[in-house]
Symmetry: C2
Subunit: 354 residues, 2 copies
């Protein structure tokens, strides 16, 4: 068996907390028996529940924490009250100390990002971290970032996102050189933000080893899967993500009510139930649960707060894959290569490659 992968879990995070996290971890363990868990939470809550999952208990080490970060706590408040002692902090800290390879939490996004930045710090040459989402497309899946870590991004930050997202796509999809597109708007007159244009110009000129730059993409390219990685700043990225989720829900609702309107439709629905089940599975947001915090000295995965055990198991599986495929190592390599390449004297083409 391969070397075990140590995953730190904030057991108190999420709308349902331990009641959702523990069965989720049990499910993930069944699928990936090489996981060892570090569980952080309140002993009064966690230990009685853990007894129900003997397999999980055997694969875990439990650490008691007095504090749980509230789902609606402000990041500054969470940092003040929960640093050093909350289950969220300690799960992240385990990544810093090397006790864990990755941390997963379904807690408050703002607090998780603030603590992750404070504890793990950004990687050398990366100014700001990003949250990357996995986007289901007609061709499979793409990586989209930033979906809301910070608002706005200058050209250099967009290029950093391209490097981070490119490494994640390599770790996730097993492709050698993923394609990267910059999200832009297509109206001729405006041709997009200055920063996006500048980033595009630079990416066209610089030969990146780790991805190939495919130019601008538009909102409708997200679902088409035109590129493996879509890069944007966090405001537009977050709005795109939530708009797509909202549209999928809206159409699901239309479909449901259409199928209940007449007895013919109801009968048709029964006959085609297998097909509808496949469709539902395809549209199931739990399957792509997990925002990956990129650009920090360690990987932290944010699960949806309202997910169930199945969804949380997906977030753990994602964490598992990111470690197995050496995400951080890939990012570090790409950054070294890019930054070394940048300082090479332009006339000397033989340098800067390994």
């Amino acid at each position: 068996m391969a070397k075990p992968i140590h995953i730190a879990l904030d057991v108190m995070g999420g709308d349902a907390g331990a009641e959702m996290v523990l069965p989720g971890a049990e499910l993930a363990l069944l699928r990936h028996p090489d996981i060892r868990f570090l569980l952080y939470g309140n002993e009064r809550v966690v230990l009685p529940l853990l007894d129900k999952y003997p397999r999980l208990r055997d694969a875990s080490t439990f650490f008691h924490c007095d504090v749980a970060v509230a789902m609606d706590a402000k990041p500054s408040q969470a940092l003040r009250q929960g640093r050093w002692r909350s289950s969220m902090w300690r799960a992240i800290e385990a990544v810093k100390t090397g006790d864990a390879d990755v941390a997963v939490s379904a807690g408050n996004t703002g607090a998780l990002m603030a603590m992750s930045k404070f504890c793990l710090r950004t990687m050398a040459n990366i100014e700001r971290p990003a949250i990357a989402a996995i986007w289901p497309t007609v061709r499979g899946e793409s990586v989209v970032l930033d979906v809301g870590a910070t608002i706005g991004a200058d050209a250099q930050q967009l290029i950093d996102f391209a490097i981070l997202g490119g490494a994640m796509a390599r770790a996730l999809f097993g492709v050698q050189k993923p394609t990267v597109g910059l999200l832009n708007i297509g109206v001729e007159e405006v041709k997009g933000l200055e920063e996006v244009r500048t980033a595009g110009r630079i990416m066209k000129e610089v030969p990146f080893r780790s991805f190939s730059y495919a130019g601008f993409v538009e909102g409708d390219d997200l679902g088409k899967g035109t590129v493996d990685v879509v890069v944007t700043e966090g405001f537009a990225g977050n709005i795109a993500l939530k708009t797509a989720e909202g549209t999928a829900k809206q159409i699901g609702g239309y479909l449901k009510s259409a199928m209940q309107r007449t007895w013919m439709a109801k009968l048709g629905y029964l006959l085609a139930k297998g097909a509808f089940d496949r469709l539902r599975e395809k549209m199931d947001p739990r399957k792509v649960n997990g925002g990956v915090f990129l650009g920090l000295n360690g990987v932290v995965i944010k699960s949806h707060g309202g997910t169930d055990a199945e969804g949380f198991a997906s977030a753990i599986a994602l964490a598992h894959g990111m470690v197995r495929n050496e995400l951080i190592h890939k990012i570090a390599q790409d950054l070294v290569h890019y930054h070394r390449g940048r300082y090479v004297v332009p006339s000397d083409n033989s340098e800067g490659d390994e």
Copy 2:
């Protein structure tokens, strides 16, 4: 019969040009016999075709134009080559002279906006025009603006968009005081762009007569129809619009292939065909075809370039409704009220209302 409504058509605009515009106009005329058309296009192309639609011919006046703006022309190029003489320019100019009440074109968006701004100019106290889209929601329809006229918007421009969109919602939905939300992102830590926050603060304080401010909304509120009008700057708005269109297409594709996979699914599909047809109709992008240029001294409607006659008829119907319901008059009134209100001495509450 009510006073006829005069609609200027750029017959050369759109991927299929006159072949799509003329049958579209014929359809619209059947539904709204009070329309009189002003047709602008090349006589060699338009006149032979027009003979096929005698009813349309009788309700139209034709004007020959030498120049047709290319679908891929740059706005500056279109302005240079097509001013005064292109079918697009002359349709817009007819609104300026008062010969037409509104202009409709399926031509190049950038060129249409550049010419509309140049010819009609922005209304007093409005710095920049916006493009408003009609967004299908689970509750009905909403107005979303700006979906790509310009990138970025300061707080004052966002407030202008709220006034413009509020007036359009009143004209479109017949509500007295539509609700307006500001598109923002919900991650606690960041709480959205400074401009969005400032606009929100001002809209909370100023009592608007023409709409009620409902606070921030997120991407998934678009499909829910949480508010009647969603205000955002053009970059995020365009990306949201195209992302939603792409997602709808993606799910439609999933559904289609799911229903073809097994004979049971195929049979189920046949039985539920009525329901599927309703769903398709509900998701039909042709039904909400038409971006409304707001903030100019006159209304111009942009139809999708790739639409068919049915879609173009929808754009004409939208134009018809905007004139019938006195959109420009409503906007002008609201602007006067808002700007008068702004200069009232705060202690004197009896002034500034009509």
